[in-house]
Amino acid sequence: MNKDTYTIKFGANKFVAPKGELLLFSLMENDIYSQGKAHGRSRGGFCGMGVCQECLVELEDGTTALACQTLVEENMEIRDE
């Protein structure tokens, strides 16, 4: 694997994403349409431009990020709530 590809983990899901990819794209490309939960229901990226806040993910280090406004990073781990 070359260094232009990153390994991403979403819960138990593991996949690779090229450098510079939007996190939301990588998730959706890997069929992860739902990134979180609200009011007991699954939620996922909707607006793609940082407005709706639906793609807010929690990273393993406890910080949060909007998947649509974040580029993938090596060993990114996202909690699957």
Binding site: M28, A38, G45
Partner: protein
């Protein structure tokens, strides 16, 4: 970075970049605050491999602007959230590294663009339902498609543009539905061709638009999204010439991805927090900022460019960005009225055409108020707080007639997105009941969800000096 700046520009889309580049030639200190990872706004998106090109001339023009901007000495704060702004033009911004900075510029240009609006339907909050804007952004950034079974639907023109990009990237469209009739779209086409600036873009997209048009089904809209945990199917129905659903015409189509869009609304949260007054004009896309003949808002020293003064696309944004730059120069006494007129005469002339195109766009994205009024009572209106249609109508029956009073009573607009997704819907519901509220939903700091640890941190000026 400086302590103070002559001009702060909020937003690095077409309008913001053009304003910055114009001002730079006059040796002013300029700071551009942008929430994007890279400059270009929602329209210009850098592809990850750097191989960016398009058949659309306006897009390529935008790429050139971004290149010029990136190689300039203008201070560019990317991935930065504006947390607070007041009428004294004091700006609090959270930078990429989570530090809080205060900026007090002499002049401000707002170029915060627009967001997409979607007419709600049952299940529109299911994962797999995305806006056509989101689809465009994902396509442009990655350069490839991400599903084999997309259904595209909506009104206006954005879903055509998204569909054309999808085909350009080699994707297949399962079905394409348009609320508007063919004759309404034909009117749009004529308007696009009359506006010379749009003609080249239009012809560049024509082959793929024709492909879509061939299989597009007109006069059909989405009335429900179904699925367990994520989208599994959509229910569609035919509408009559008034846009009302024809009973008995409903049908279901399986899909895991629905891209839907019903037009654009201006992002006014920052501007209204700074005290700029708004007005409502359907022909301009709904709520916009009041501006005078030099695009100054009702706040002295604050100017507005692009979607904030009316929906109209990239050309209008670029023209107004340049005009705003000259208006700043005029008011900071760097150029005189005579020079101002010489520099802006042609720009204002071109702007007329861009506005006329925008008006056609706005006509196609008008809400059907009868349909809004008759929305199923269990339809979600505020996605963040899970507020239903019945909660809103109950509040109206209770006697509330403004977005802000409904917000207080129901919590609609109090969630993470601060009403950006639902406030225009509440405005439309109010209108459908005969109540005209033409104020922006009240915004509170922090404008973007920000952790308390960050808010409790020290505030400094951009050069690191103490406030």
């Amino acid at each position: 970075m400086n302590k103070d700046y002559d001009v702060v520009i909020i937003g690095a889309g077409f309008a913001g970049i053009k304003a910055a580049l114009t001002l730079e030639k006059y040796n002013l200190s300029i700071c551009v605050i942008d929430e994007g990872v890279l400059p270009g706004g929602q329209f210009i998106r850098y592809k990850k491999d750097g191989k960016n090109s398009s058949k659309v001339p306006t897009y390529n023009k935008g790429l050139d602007l971004v290149k010029e901007f990136t190689s300039s000495s203008i201070t560019y704060l990317n991935k930065s959230d504006l947390i607070f702004i007041n009428e004294e033009k004091e700006i609090l911004v959270k930078l990429l590294d989570d530090s809080l900075k205060m900026i007090k510029p002499k002049s401000i240009i707002f170029a915060t663009g627009a967001r997409e609006i979607v007419q709600p339907f049952k299940g529109w909050d299911l994962p797999g339902v995305i806006t056509t804007g989101a689809m465009q952004i994902l396509l442009k950034t990655s350069g490839k498609t991400f599903s084999d079974e997309v259904v595209i639907a909506g009104s206006g023109i954005l879903h055509y543009a998204a569909g054309a990009t999808w085909l350009e990237k080699g994707g297949k469209i399962k079905s394409f539905y348009d609320v508007n009739s063919f004759s309404q779209k034909f009117k749009m086409l004529i308007s696009a061709l009359v506006s010379s600036d749009k003609r080249a873009d239009f012809f560049a997209m024509l082959p793929n638009m024709m492909k879509i048009q061939k299989s597009a089904k007109n006069g059909i809209k989405v009335i429900e999204a179904r699925g367990y945990k994520k989208l599994e199917s959509v229910v569609l129905a035919s509408v009559d010439s008034n846009g009302d659903v024809i009973e008995g015409s409903e049908f279901e189509e399986k899909t895991s991805l629905l891209a839907i869009g019903n037009g654009l609304v201006a992002n006014l949260d920052v501007a209204t927090m700074a005290g700029c007054e708004t007005k409502y004009d359907e022909n301009l896309g709904g709520l916009v900022l009041k501006t005078n003949h030099i695009l100054q808002t009702t706040q002295k020293g604050i100017y507005a460019a692009g979607a904030l003064t009316g929906i109209g696309g990239a050309d209008k944004a670029e023209l107004e960005g340049e005009i705003c730059a000259y208006s700043v120069l005029l008011k900071q006494n760097i150029i005189d009225a005579h020079v101002y007129q010489e520099l802006t005469d042609k720009l204002f002339e071109k702007r007329k055409k861009a506005i006329s195109f925008g008006k056609t766009l706005s006509t196609m994205q008008k809400f059907n108020l009868k349909e809004i009024k008759n929305l199923n009572e269990n339809t979600t209106i505020c996605r963040c707080e899970n507020i239903k249609m019945k909660d809103i109508t109950n509040a109206i029956e209770f006697g509330l007639t403004s977005i802000n009073s409904i917000k207080k009573k129901t919590r609609a607009g109090m969630g993470n997105c601060q009403g950006k997704t639902c406030s225009e819907l509440v405005r439309a519901i109010l209108l459908s009941h005969g109540h005209k509220d033409f104020h922006h939903i009240k915004t509170r700091a922090p404008l973007k969800p920000t952790s308390i640890d960050i808010l409790a941190g020290e505030i400094t000026f951009l050069d690191g000096s103490k406030v």
